[in-house]
């Protein structure tokens, strides 16, 4: 693996996590203010933009690497998103959810490595 592919893999992961957090915030804003408001549209646009970057980076990586090589990195997104949602969105992260996320992440890494 070259440095470039590591950077691309990390970039795909970071844009994916960032996109999810922004989309969650966008949908939360619709609860109080509905769909026709500039904050929702701006956040939705940002979220979709980040997810699109992540999508094409992943497609490009799939051309070079096996899915089984790339998937462990996606598995890590579970625990990263849970922790980031707790920090940035102030969601309640109970010890049960933390353990659940860790087990799922570890399981995905195992599944995809074999």
């Amino acid at each position: 693996m070259t440095l470039l592919s590591l950077v691309l893999i990390l970039l795909a992961l970071v844009t994916f996590v960032g996109g999810q957090l922004i989309l969650k915030r966008a949908m939360e804003s619709t609860v109080a203010h509905g769909l026709r408001q500039s904050k929702f549209i701006a956040l939705l646009g940002c979220g979709i933009f980040l997810m699109t970057i992540s999508f094409f980076l992943t497609l490009g990586l799939l051309q070079r690497f096996d899915l089984s090589y790339l998937y462990p990195f996606q598995g890590l997104s579970v625990i990263i998103i849970s922790v980031m949602a707790a920090i940035m969105l102030k969601e309640k992260l109970t010890w049960q959810l933390t353990i659940g996320s860790l087990l799922i992440s570890a399981g995905i890494v195992l599944v995809s490595m074999s």
Binding site: V31, L62, A85, L110
Partner: protein, 134 residues
């Protein structure tokens, strides 16, 4: 968790719909991307040349459907619960290959599947309790 609609608007049903669409799209994407791989192309790192495959376009349609139902899920369910649960797709792919295509699953992979199932159960348990109270 706030009041939410039942029937087709039930966010848990939408979560299942979203997962199913992702499951099929992942398989289509891998085939489409492999089909169109062109490492010689200067732009191949962007993956953009995979758009030449119709399979990738079918996958994109499914991704759009799963995206809309996912947004709907996000409106009602916290990310710390919805996202881990949505990764059930990562064990459904190997299980689907094993069940439908007769592919072998290694011991290590079975262990991983077991870990994910335990993780899903641990994550879903507080949700079940929450639902009961409503």
């Amino acid at each position: 968790m706030r009041d939410r609609p039942s029937g087709f608007g039930n966010p848990w049903l939408q979560l299942v719909l979203s997962v199913m669409c992702v499951l099929v799209s992942e398989l289509l994407l891998k085939r489409g991307a492999t089909e169109t791989a062109d490492p010689a192309s200067e732009w191949s790192w962007t993956g953009i040349n995979s758009l030449a495959s119709p399979l990738v376009w079918w996958a994109i349609i499914l991704i759009i459907i799963s995206f809309i139902s996912w947004l709907y899920v996000l409106r009602y369910i916290p990310l710390t619960i919805a996202f881990p649960l949505s990764r059930v797709v990562d064990i459904l792919v190997p299980l689907g290959c094993w069940f439908f295509l007769g592919e072998a699953i290694s011991a290590r992979r079975w262990c991983g599947i077991a870990l994910v199932i335990i993780g899903l159960a641990v994550t879903a348990k507080p949700v079940a309790r929450l639902e009961e109270r409503l």
